[in-house]
């Protein structure tokens, strides 16, 4: 009896071994074909690993109920379930959160499990992933070079301007026009209207306009001409009040400053335009300045001003509004001439130095464009691909 039992046990063992090994072999075939990969998430501050996979080709995706992704933390007895995923999902990012942190330079093991609708399941092989901190974004290398070059060149020119103030900047016609405009208003006994754009103090054009306002205000203070400055933004109004007040103080006429002439109207674009049009029609200023950032209201302002017979000087970096100003105004500062004008009028070495730096940069860009165009047309695309 014992012998028969041993024979039965041996035969049973012999019967199941092939199935057992074939099962292992079969499982190894299925798990290796998951193609599971765990790589460090690129361009981040560490603490994240990207896991990707593709289901074995011999599995029908419709039969899968869900996928489960597990992580084996170092030293942990049990794996952590990262989540239930949809069958069609092919990637997952394991990121640090408030509940759990992924340590950098630490290997973590991942494994995927596919749960079928009939309750069966198969598991993938285990793969290791390590997260790392990236200290430099390589794809921005060219931008980095450009940034360093730009900042370096401008800083160099600013430094040179401190030591050598004989910088040549060509005179812009519009600078004469500004002085002519102020003079005209003084002779006619009419006020000057200064609109510094319809944008906020964040806008570079607004800051450039405020610089020019400072000089116009000084001229007005010297000649005793009234200066009206309506504003669309209350913060810009606050800044402009101080600028104009300081301008009047600098020429020794602080009492001549009228705070009610530098005022805030409304934030709404068209309501502001309507109000300024009303001021132009009622006050009939001799000279209108439209300097700063403008949007669709530019033509309405310029045409209304033209109908009152005022001399108009405009300047904006809003490319879409330039045609309207050029058509309707007597003088126009195009694009960066607005920034240049503020530097030119102040004659500050630092500002002139930065203007010089800009011009050098423009020269370098022109060379790059020409070189790129010639090389590209000759069939050499390396410059284009690299940049």
């Amino acid at each position: 009896m014992v012998t028969i039992y041993r024979e039965i046990r041996f035969l049973t063992f012999l019967f199941f071994v092939p199935f057992f090994f074939s099962g292992i072999l079969f499982a190894q075939d299925i798990s290796s074909s998951f193609n599971l990969k765990a790589v460090d998430k690129p361009i981040d501050d560490g603490g994240a690993i990207e896991i990707s996979w593709s289901l074995p080709k011999d599995i029908n995706i419709e039969e899968i109920e869900k996928l489960e992704l597990y992580r084996f933390d170092p030293g942990a007895a049990e794996p952590v379930k990262l989540g239930d995923l949809k069958p069609k999902q092919q990637k997952f990012t394991d990121e640090s959160s408030d509940e759990r942190k992924l340590r950098n330079k630490t290997p973590y093991i991942y494994q995927l499990k596919a749960i079928f609708k009939d309750g069966s399941q198969i598991t993938s092989e285990k793969v290791e992933g390590i997260s790392k901190i990236q200290w430099f974004e390589k794809r921005k290398f060219v931008i980095f070079i450009g940034t360093v070059l730009s900042i370096g060149l401008i800083l160099y020119c600013i430094y040179k301007a401190k030591t050598d103030s004989n910088f040549f900047i060509r005179r812009m016609v519009v600078i004469d026009a500004i002085e002519e405009g102020v003079g005209r208003a003084t002779e006619m006994g009419k006020p000057i209207l200064f609109v510094s754009g319809t944008s906020t103090i964040n806008d570079v054009a607004t800051i450039a306009a405020i610089n020019i306002l400072s000089h116009v205000a000084k001229k007005c203070a010297e000649y005793g001409t009234r200066l009206i400055v309506p504003n669309k933004d209350s913060i810009v109004m606050t800044v402009q009040q101080e600028v104009v007040k300081e301008a009047y103080t600098s020429v020794g006429k602080p009492d001549a400053f009228r705070e009610e002439d530098v005022f805030y109207i409304t934030d709404d674009q068209m309501a502001y335009v309507a109000a300024v049009d009303g001021i132009m029609v009622r006050e009939k200023p001799a000279t209108n300045f439209f300097l700063g950032m403008f949007y669709a209201e530019s033509l309405i302002l310029a045409e209304t001003g033209a109908s009152t017979g005022a001399i108009q000087i405009a300047g904006t970096d809003a490319v879409t509004q330039l045609p309207f100003f050029i058509t309707a105004c007597d003088y126009t500062l195009i694009g960066e001439e607005l920034y240049a004008a503020s530097a030119y009028m102040s004659r500050e070495p630092l500002l002139l130095g930065s203007l010089k730096g800009q011009d050098y940069l423009k020269f370098l860009i022109m060379i790059a464009i020409l070189l790129g165009a010639i090389l590209y047309n000759l069939g050499f695309t390396f410059l284009k691909d690299w940049l």
Binding site: W135, F144, T147, S150, E246, A271, L351, S354, L361, I365
Partner: protein, 206 residues
């Protein structure tokens, strides 16, 4: 101190954000700053409302010119806030009816003035005084005709010519101006970060 503190903050934040752009290791700092900016942006709205009310109340107190309209402004602000909070902002509420029956027509009317002003400006300014003005005039006519169905229907090829003008000469000029403007903005931003440009500090001087 009144000037030094904002200048210092401006410098530090400017440099940090430039470095952050290239260094992924500072992403979490970027997330924190972005979160704070979201909060600050919300407060800017409150600041705008406060500024509006303050300025108009001052105007009423001083009986400044057109001070009566300040009452209208404040009444409008109070009205829209109240009806919005009480009856909601869905379709058919007083809030939405006021918006679509008053604000929308008023603003659309102001914007529609552009059509008239463009016509009068074009008539006044498009004179063939020299070669450049002549080229401008011809290009403008081609684009205006090519842009509308009547032109494309009666003049074959005008739409393609218009597209060519917009895609080549127009684009070349625009790119030139945009590059110049971009460099100007870079330079001005750098001056602001370094504290050379201080006009935003309420005329704090150089």
């Amino acid at each position: 101190m009144k000037q030094k503190l904002p200048l210092t903050i401006c410098f530090i934040m400017g440099v940090v954000m430039i470095i952050q752009y290239f260094v992924p290791a500072l992403n979490s700092l970027y997330d924190t700053i972005r979160f704070w900016l979201l909060v600050v942006s919300g407060f800017v709205l409150c600041l705008g409302i406060y500024s509006l009310v303050r300025v108009h109340i001052l105007k009423i107190r001083r009986k400044a010119p057109s001070w009566g309209y300040s009452y209208v402004t404040i009444a409008g602000l109070v009205w829209m806030s109240l009806v919005g909070f009480i009856w909601g902002k869905e379709e058919g509420t007083i809030f939405m009816n006021t918006f679509f029956l008053i604000q929308v027509p008023i603003q659309s009317t102001m914007f529609s003035l552009l059509a008239f002003f463009i016509a009068s400006a074009a008539f006044r300014a498009f004179r063939m005084k020299n070669l450049e003005a002549g080229l401008l005039l011809i290009a403008a006519i081609i684009v205006m005709i090519g842009q509308v169905p009547v032109g494309a229907s009666f003049i074959p090829g005008i739409a393609d010519l218009k597209e060519w003008i917009l895609n080549y000469p127009n684009l070349a000029a625009k790119r030139g101006i945009v590059i110049g403007v971009g460099l100007g903005m870079l330079s001005t931003a750098l001056k602001i970060i370094l504290g050379i440009e201080r006009s935003y500090l309420s005329g704090g001087g150089k």
